[in-house]
């Protein structure tokens, strides 16, 4: 009985550490991605934000940043998906909301002029 309790505690601690480690690694990918994005290296930035999402899929910030990077590289349909995901995960974040609103304005006029969802496969 005591052994089981110890095993459970160890498991919880290990999963907690792993989760903390994943968050930290996601953060470092976001930090690096945003740094290269500011230098205009948007494809590298998108790759870094994808890595952050792979480590922490529920990270609204990573989804937002990936959406911005996809927008910068002209992949608007994918950017829309990522903005929606970011908004779903962080509905009260004012930065994500503002980004999404501005993108929606642009994307609406863009699809109106081209007649189809741009960047769609």
């Amino acid at each position: 009985m005591r052994g089981t309790a110890w095993a459970m505690a160890a498991l919880l601690l290990a999963s907690g550490c792993a989760s903390y480690d994943r968050t930290e690694r996601a953060k470092s990918q976001i930090a690096f991605g945003s740094e290269v994005a500011r230098k205009g290296l948007w494809r590298e930035a998108a790759f870094r934000f994808e890595q952050a999402i792979a480590r922490e899929p529920g990270n609204a910030r990573a989804h937002n940043n990936l959406a911005v990077a996809l927008e910068a590289t002209g992949e608007f349909a994918r950017a829309l998906t990522e903005y929606k995901k970011a908004l779903e995960l962080g509905p009260n974040d004012s930065y994500i909301r503002r980004n999404y609103a501005r993108f929606a304005e642009f994307y609406t006029s863009y699809t109106r002029t081209t007649g189809k969802a741009a960047g769609a496969p």
């Binding site: 994005a37 937002n64 940043n65 927008e71 910068a72 930065y95 501005r102 642009f106 863009y110 741009a118």
Partner: protein, 238 residues
């Protein structure tokens, strides 16, 4: 001593307020400027022959009343501007239509349906696409009395007073009609508007016209070629 302490305290409060105000933007968020590609409105290859046909002048009737409009050859200036921009920023070949070419109607809706007329223009000029539409340029005198806040240097109280402000507004409204030179069918109809306001009643009308035109340049060229648009976005940094 007391006023000095008060001033120090006020400065401290102001600094704290400033710190709180900028904190959300600096705490892990930065603003980036993107250049978004804008696809051309017309599905062109890029090397077509483009004929510039006359435009309907909406304000022609007002020329008799407004002397300042008489100084502006709107048709000529707009054609020259459009030809120069298309020559400089696209690979389209610009063809001028014959100088005696008369539009079959002065009604925009009827002009957009004059398929036979546009097909014949296409045959005569050998153009792949023909551009026409309507132009409107108005000079608006917006001078008048406006209410202004005024703090009296004698008693420090705020009063309201009427002041005369001289302002001129330039309104430019263009409707583009683009036709297929082979079939005469309408390919696109779009409208662009711009309003500029300048101080002073005697602002130059030609300068006003070109301010309108240059502010619409990107949108006009985007009819024919891809352009870029700048947009700001927020990026999280951690």
């Amino acid at each position: 001593m007391l006023p000095r302490l008060r001033a120090l305290r006020a400065a401290g409060v102001a600094a704290l307020a400033l710190l709180l105000a900028v904190a959300p933007a600096s705490a892990g968020v930065s603003q980036v400027r993107l250049k978004l590609p804008l696809k051309p409105r017309l599905p062109l290859r890029g090397n077509e022959r483009l004929a510039l046909a006359p435009f309907i002048l909406v304000t022609e009737a007002e020329k008799a009343r407004d002397k300042r409009l008489q100084n502006v050859d709107l048709q000529g200036e707009f054609h020259r501007f459009l030809k120069k921009q298309v020559d400089k920023k696209t690979k389209l070949e610009v063809i001028e239509t014959p100088p005696d070419l008369k539009l079959p109607t002065q009604n925009l809706a009827e002009l957009s349906r004059a398929t036979e007329f546009w097909r014949s223009v296409g045959v005569t000029t050998g153009a792949d696409v023909i551009v026409s539409g309507s132009l409107e340029f108005r000079i608006e005198d917006r001078s008048g009395y406006k209410t202004e806040e005024y703090v009296s240097p004698i008693n420090g109280q705020t009063y309201y007073r009427q002041v005369y402000v001289e302002q001129t507004g330039f309104l430019f409204d263009i409707v583009f009609l683009v036709f297929d030179g082979h079939t005469g069918e309408k390919l696109l109809q779009d409208e662009f508007k711009d309003f500029r306001q300048t101080g002073g009643r005697r602002a130059d009308e030609l300068q006003g016209l070109f301010e309108n035109l240059f502010s619409l340049e990107n949108q006009i060229l985007n009819l024919f070629v891809a352009r870029e648009r700048e947009a700001d976005r927020y990026l999280f940094t951690d």
